[in-house]
Symmetry: C2
Subunit: 205 residues, 2 copies
């Protein structure tokens, strides 16, 4: 990829039980040149955390104002605090020619796809309902009610998999293979004409 | 890929000097399960050739009638004879769940993409104009006029590369890499939701 070429925005979604965390970690090891974007949050910094390193720390008012101004690409609320991806931060990485992975839920993913139609969206899913339930129960610390809620939420996300560009199935012990499959998808996507600007210019001078 | 899943139609184009022949040969070695379709032609069978093996041998009238009935997916004329891909032959391979590669020119490729929007189209191009000319001259048997005509034809084809799903650049001694790149593209394309029918059914029974 030439320096002037813009990086590729990659969205990876996966319900609880899809193994997304492990797969993305392996993918980052496999492709160390993947860019990072620092998220913004309204939670208080913990000791040792620095603004702009772990997070951009923002007040609730500032975050909500940024949201209304369209400066936050996608966001979620967790334990009463906002967490989101600042648009300027994502653009900084992409304009430097680095590919950027965002791990986000289905709502945010569809929002990104509307804003960036050229973004590559991948949904990771478990192989079947029994495996999904076993993985959710495997943590062993949750009540049946909590498990049922998570199963239903996971099903809601999986139902949207057809709206993604790619689906990758994470079998048991399949994380390495999934990471390799996603790395292959990203490599293929770099052969799209929209990402090969100027490759044919030389023939027409 | 499950037996019931339809195969993927792959179109590979590349001007003279792109090295398409070598790359497709390597790709077939890399993916031996790729299907073959027998072409139809109006040229006379040579000694030892059998109808339905090397070609389907057809009269000119029959070929032209098949063309008007839409039974030929794409065709070209070479040395006064028709050569084309019978639709029934391509469908037979695809319905058996095998992926099928058609090596065809830009006109035919665009025609196929209109008939089969889910077809995957790849254009192979040389790295630059000098390399293209050197490769065309390299054969050493052609006049300058012939070379100039071929260069112009190659440029016309390369100008259409933006209409393809993927572009692969064949550097000198790059055939192995190109074949691997295309194999990766085909693998990625099998992760498209439209090619993963039923993969989420189990979650909704």
């Amino acid at each position: 990829m030439s320096a002037k070429e813009k990086g590729m925005l990659i969205v990876i979604s996966g319900p609880a039980g899809s193994g997304k965390g492990t797969v993305v970690k392996l993918l980052r090891e496999m492709i160390p040149e993947l860019g990072f974007s620092v998220s913004a949050t309204t939670r208080a910094p913990r000791p040792g955390e620095e603004d702009g390193v772990q997070y951009y720390f923002m007040s609730r008012d500032d975050f909500e104002e940024a949201l209304t101004r369209g400066e936050i690409l996608e966001h979620t609320v967790y334990c009463g605090n906002y967490y989101g991806t600042p648009k300027a931060e994502a653009e900084r990485v992409l304009n430097a020619g680095q590919d950027l992975i965002l791990e986000i839920e289905t709502d945010g993913a569809m929002q990104i796809k509307r804003l960036y139609p050229e973004a590559v969206t991948v949904m990771l899913i478990p192989p079947d309902a029994d495996t999904l339930e076993a993985r959710l129960r495997g943590r062993g610390t949750e009540t049946d009610d909590v498990i049922r809620t998570r199963l239903n939420r996971a099903r809601e996300e999986i139902a949207l998999s057809g709206k993604y560009d790619y689906i990758v199935v994470n079998e048991d012990n399949g994380a390495d293979r999934c990471a390799a499959d996603i790395a292959g998808i990203l490599k293929a996507e770099h052969h799209r004409p929209c990402r090969m600007h100027g490759v044919t210019d030389n023939f027409f001078n």
